[in-house]
Point group: C3
Chain length 265, copies 3
């Protein structure tokens, strides 16, 4: 059987000693585990960006993986830490909602346990670094075969993070930029299907600009052209072929975006 996998997603920053300490604690308890860095550059304490990241990545992972997520502005306070199963996904997360977008469309295959049994934690728990002192040792114990029910009580309530919902109007859909990738592509919360419905002519409006070039992939347009397309996760995306739409439009996370349909006769 394959060695167990633990993935790490944090806002500690790439190359942070905090990431290195978490890995050390895990490996000290289970030297056989394989640790996969998912991403450590989630914007600091940004739960929504964490949610975007997790929704775009975790569904691709196999059930062997245990996903440790430490984006945790409430560390040391009353917030709980949860072990959560969502279908075949298994996570360790702070109870701040950053993981709850994964619940969408999933009703029955959910189990959530609140970490309460301190015997699986480091003997001394700092008030500001539960990643090292609680998440890491619990993850290592789970990777060694610990039954999650040992960790604490099953709970049925947890903090939920609202996903910003696009507004549908008769002749338009309005949403916002949810994520800006490294290329300056603007990924929105408007479903790609709103762009590809071919019954009505349309354009995209963002940052005071009209985007009329609607394509399948970047290079379908001339270099430098502002364009709209369906993102790889099936959202409306605004981009510039071989360019940087975020910079060109001075747009960012939260910038409003509208698809305008030609009024029907």
């Amino acid at each position: 059987m394959a060695d167990p996998l633990i993935t790490l997603t944090t806002d500690f920053g790439n190359g942070s000693p905090y990431v290195a300490a978490v890995k050390g604690v895990i490996l000290a308890l289970n030297p056989d585990v394989r640790i996969i860095d998912l991403g450590h550059d989630i914007p600091a304490q940004d739960l929504r960006q964490a949610a975007v990241f997790l929704a775009a990545t975790l569904p691709y992972y196999p059930p062997q993986a245990l996903h440790v997520v430490v984006v945790d502005p409430g560390v040391g306070a009353q917030r709980s830490i949860l072990y959560a199963e969502v279908a075949y996904l298994r996570l360790l997360v702070p109870d701040n909602g950053c993981w709850t977008w994964l619940l969408e469309g999933e009703r029955r295959r959910i189990r959530v346990i609140r970490l309460a049994e301190k015997r699986f934690w480091r003997s001394r728990v700092s008030a500001t670094f539960h990643g090292r002192d609680i998440f890491a040792p619990v993850a290592a114990n789970l990777s060694l075969g610990l039954d999650p029910r040992e960790l604490g009580p099953v709970v049925s309530d947890w903090v939920r993070l609202e996903r910003p919902i696009p507004q549908h109007h008769p002749n338009s859909v309005t949403g916002e930029v949810l994520f800006v990738d490294r290329f300056g592509n603007l990924i929105t919360n408007i479903p790609g299907s709103a762009l590809t419905r071919d019954d009505r002519p349309k354009q995209v409006r963002i940052a005071g600009v009209e985007v009329t070039c609607i394509v399948r992939t970047y290079s379908d347009a001339e270099p430098g052209t502002l364009l709209a397309l369906v993102s790889s996760s099936e959202w409306l995306e605004v981009a510039v072929n071989r360019g940087d739409a975020a910079r060109q439009l001075n747009a960012n996370i939260g910038t409003p975006v509208t698809i305008e349909y030609e009024p029907q006769a």
Copy 2:
């Protein structure tokens, strides 16, 4: 036998969800594979920087490794994806030339296959993320022992990326900065041998400055001294001991560099 190795080189950015998704797809198909991050900070869509990176790193890897390279400005368009063997190196690359500097000096041990068999791809291939939908599943399948001939037809033609060639003159060699490392060291495309030939006095000219301090290693010069030396990959390098030559000279990739030899009597 050792678990198979897959290395990843992309321009997605460190901590990008795109990198994390690629890893997930690979691990879902082959949980035993070990994934090695080579680098994800190749400048966006910069084929030449990708070529510099690959030439400076892949030759050190063992034959077990399969090198997945996703610097792919033409994603979704007509460009092909290639499986390439160059001597003992095995790669999955977009057909944009970024890998072709590895062919230098190698004539016979080359095999290139164009990915055509969609049964090894994800069932749904997005137009903008072939890293996740084609490269990753094909890499995983190869790591599981798939014969590369199953992937598609052998091809004998592919896009080549020109390597900028230095100009040799009777009393000088002119090239350019090809790479700037994290320390601000300027690595050029002039062979180190042009610096170490000891038959003629010489100096290096870059960004309007004459570099007369020619040394073996940085600390052979006083701190702060602008110096020229042979880089670890045997190119002419301009550096500042305990300083940052790029900043000090306001030099960057593409800045011209000349070695001037004293005219012979």
Copy 3:
């Protein structure tokens, strides 16, 4: 038995081809080794930041790990490279002192060997990249079971890096910021115990500002509040709940910090 572990800590920069080359050399010699990236963003050539990083991370790792540290401004010159054992920790380090804070409190379980046997190095050693040409092959050989005594002579003298010591006065302790994390938290060299002694009222002074809010964790204060607390490594830390203390105070590494106690009657 678990596969051997090699950790890498460098100042090469995340995504540097130098890191990728080091990994390749190691894997070519021992494809079974697991490589753990600790951090590659140590500020360039900054021995003190390397020391802070190592002290905050290595103690969490298991004895299986061999820690390779390449922060090496003296590369290629007369400085030695050391294999060091400190209690159960095993390191390969340049002899520049960056590892010596790990020796604190440890008197007997120390063994240091100076690398001298070139047969364990790459056959061609560049003057500027010992990470690839000496550290990597020696680490791989050790991971294959090489007896460290084969590497060279035991030595009893090495470069030490001074740790900045806080100054204790009758009514105050003065230190400095030693590390700034990704959140802008300022971690100092003043022991946390100087903050938590509850016999005397106190305040913290930094960058011309008085910090009177002394708490256990960030969220014990209102968002935006400047606060002092004990860091996860038990040092005095100055932070802002959900904010960035470094930016707010314009403070950085080296900024002086004082705990002032109310004079006793």
